[in-house]
């Protein structure tokens, strides 16, 4: 048993905000929307920051889209008949191919952190949704105790910052993207916030 509360690192409020945001982005990108997710997006409330305003725009778009239309959009973007419009994997973005060295580097880092992919997931580990979910886990301590900011920064720099901003730009501009164009803009802004925040901690 290692649930001694005294030994747990306390995760601050601002870190929880980041963690929630990573999980939200991960969920949006990891699978088509379902009723619960769609109603959650419809109820999001941002403030008047750039991210907050874009979240409000996403929420407004979600109020005018059906689950079916949102699912079709997701499938056109990420699944397609043979493949979707976008290929949301680190290895693909950095080398033009899936399963290349950037994936091997990620797996080595995951080994070091004691993380592995669930057996029931077919996609390679470097899918954008996995990476964002791992950031969430590192922040809140899903896999072990919460990671330090510098450990989080190392993961972010090596596996996310090197390609995700470009991916989010592509998502924003994708032909099939309507609801997800907004997700792309939010993702891009979030990456900027994270990059800047890590610099402040360096």
């Amino acid at each position: 048993m290692n649930s001694n509360l005294n030994t747990q690192t306390i995760v601050g409020e601002e870190e929880k905000l980041r963690a929630h945001f990573y999980l939200l982005m991960s969920r949006l990108l990891g699978a088509p929307v379902d009723g619960d997710l769609l109603s959650m997006i419809r109820n999001l409330k941002g403030d008047d920051t750039p991210i907050g305003l874009e979240v409000n725009a996403l929420s407004a778009l979600a109020q005018n889209i059906s689950i079916e239309a949102a699912t079709e959009e997701y499938e056109a973007l990420f699944i397609g008949v043979t493949q979707g419009e976008l290929i949301p994997f680190k290895s693909y973005y950095l080398t033009g191919f899936l399963n290349e060295k950037p994936l091997a580097e990620l797996r080595a880092h995951m080994d070091e952190l004691g993380i592995e992919k669930s057996d029931n997931v077919a996609e390679p580990d470097d899918h954008i949704a996995f990476l964002l979910e791992m950031m969430h886990g590192l922040i809140v301590g899903t896999f072990d105790k919460p990671s330090t900011i510098s450990e989080q920064n190392r993961f972010f720099e090596n596996h996310i910052a090197c390609w995700a901003p470009k991916f989010f730009e592509d998502l924003e501009a994708a032909e099939s993207a309507h609801l997800f164009a907004s997700v792309g803009r939010i993702g891009k802004l979030f990456m900027e916030v994270e990059g800047e925040a890590f610099l402040m901690a360096a």
Binding site: A31, D34, S118, V121, E196
Partner: protein, 66 residues
Amino acid sequence: MSNKKSESSSRRDFIKTAGLGVGVAAVASGVLSAGGAVAAPVLKNEKTVGYRETEHVKQYYESAKY
């Protein structure tokens, strides 16, 4: 105070004012639970073979209600 301290507090302030508080936790954090039934990628901790993170996520969401 040391620089270290003021740097980390300016980082905290920066994050708090970056607009990330969009009501995710207040609305339906369960929807996003990594241990949920959705097809979202689910990661497991090999050290504990599987379901510890579900408990962790549950505890985390219990504690994150704010």
